[in-house]
């Protein structure tokens, strides 16, 4: 049983080691990625936010409703 406990302790160190190694590397990778993307591939600001605010429903919802209506019409005409 002592042997199993020592396996367990070893597993704990290996496990927490890997978990921290993994997530630490992920932190660095994310930082690098975000820097690169913000510099070289900045998102084009989305127009139409004003529409969204003014109507309370954004374009995609309207598009979805329109598509649904069109779909229904097509099928029932």
């Amino acid at each position: 049983m002592a042997e199993m406990m020592s396996s367990g302790v070893e597993l704990m160190f290996a496990g927490m080691g890997i978990v921290f190694l993994f997530l630490t590397m992920l932190v660095y990778a994310v930082n690098i990625m975000s820097t690169l993307i913000q510099r070289f591939f900045p998102d084009v600001p989305v127009s139409g936010i004003s529409t969204s605010l003014s109507t309370g429903i954004d374009k995609s919802v309207i598009a979805a409703i329109a598509a649904a209506v069109h779909q229904h019409r097509r099928q029932h005409k």
Binding site: M5, A14, V19, F22, T24, V27
Partner: protein, 375 residues
């Protein structure tokens, strides 16, 4: 007359064993917790119902020829938990985590609960009558990951006999997060620490959200291939949602598909709640260890946040460390609630979502370690 006798001999009353009767009561208890107490009803209701169905005498619903026998193949082959994980990936927004990546370390620290309870399971072998193998201990430890599909996936590979008890413990404790965590969080933090306000988060671009799941997958491929079934399906779901070009697949993955699989998965897990496997002294051990795992994970996350504050200028409210256990989004909500108690203008929810989803990654990584090192 003969018919009447044969009918009587085919009734449940005639054939009931006390074990079956007790397990059906366990099933009803789970239904009660799910419906009346709101304990993770999406999983515990089908699990409880599966427990009832599989313990009906004579009917053999969980034996060859019965529906639960066939549904269980979805778990045995590892398909159901991975499909659920894909759906969860599609529902996950990594935005808050990407806006403040260093909070991922909180999601790493909280996985200590997994390994502490693994050791605890081994230590329990000192009690006569308890004999947990290393595989059993690893499967029990994963309860501390506070992530249902991960726990079911690991248990189905390492200790299928314990699957029922482990899944029940995992989902029950997730539901109990609002009760288990606050005392620990209060004990380990000062009023001033709980008042810490965190910086406004930056907006994360769509491109970052698209690249992240791929980066996560690559890292997992390079470091820990044994975690890639879980992380891969999670990343697939997340990518489908983030990329915006396969909206219909993403919607199906996070709605109908995950719903169908949840019903099947719950019933199949319930079918493993047999008297033979559950009515063992070791089940009490599993339930106790699960609670310990959650408590230690919570404490580890909070302590990690306090350590990070020593070495960093931008302060972290240690309450969000507790969200590192995963249990998305309850743990983040608990952090938010305790933050508001100390400072009514302090909304921690978004800040806590970072460690919260990092905790999902962390427990998938821990699962990979267990699957690759525990033979």
């Amino acid at each position: 007359m003969e018919n009447l006798l044969s009918l009587w001999q085919s009734t449940g009353l005639y054939n009931f064993t006390s074990g079956q009767a007790f397990m059906m009561l366990v099933g009803f208890l789970l239904l009660f917790l799910a419906i009346k107490k709101g304990f993770e009803p999406l999983l515990l209701l089908p699990i409880g119902f599966g427990a009832i169905l599989s313990n009906i005498p004579v009917a053999g619903i969980a034996e060859e020829g019965g529906i639960l026998y066939y549904l269980y193949f979805g778990i045995k082959l590892g398909i159901f938990p991975l499909l659920i994980f894909m759906g969860v990936g599609a529902m996950t927004d990594f935005g808050p985590m990407l806006a403040n990546p260093k909070t991922m370390l909180l999601g790493a620290a909280a996985q200590f609960g997994i390994f502490a309870s693994l050791l605890g399971a081994l230590a329990l072998n000192a009690i006569p009558g308890l004999e947990f193998s290393l595989r059993d201990a690893a499967a029990i430890g994963i309860i501390g990951g506070a992530d249902g599909p991960t726990a079911i996936y690991v248990a189905s590979k390492l200790a299928p006999d314990l699957l029922g008890a482990i899944a029940v413990a995992a989902y029950s404790y997730m539901a109990l997060v609002p009760l288990i965590q606050p005392p620990i969080m209060r004990a380990l933090t000062t009023e001033d620490e709980r008042k810490i306000e965190m910086q406004q988060m930056r907006v994360v671009s769509r491109t970052e959200k698209i690249v992240f799941p791929l980066m996560l997958l690559v890292l997992s491929v390079l470091l820990l291939p044994s975690a890639t079934p879980l992380i891969g399906m999670f990343a697939l779901g997340n990518l489908m949602n983030a990329c915006g070009v396969v909206e219909r697949l993403s919607q199906t993955a996070q709605n109908e598909l995950i719903n169908i699989v949840t019903i099947f998965l719950g019933l199949s897990v319930g079918s493993k709640l047999s008297a033979h496997a559950f009515l063992q002294f070791q089940t009490l051990g599993i339930l106790a260890l699960g609670a310990i795992a959650f408590a230690i994970g919570t404490a580890s996350g909070v302590i990690m946040a306090k350590i990070m504050n020593r070495f960093s200028d931008t302060p972290i409210n240690p309450l969000i460390g507790a969200a590192g256990v995963s249990a998305v989004p309850m743990a983040a909500r608990v952090a938010n609630k305790l933050g508001l108690e100390s400072n009514p203008h302090n909304f921690l929810l978004m800040h806590a979502m970072g460690p919260n989803v990092a905790g999902v990654i962390g427990s998938a990584v821990a699962a990979g370690v267990l699957l690759s090192l525990v033979k």
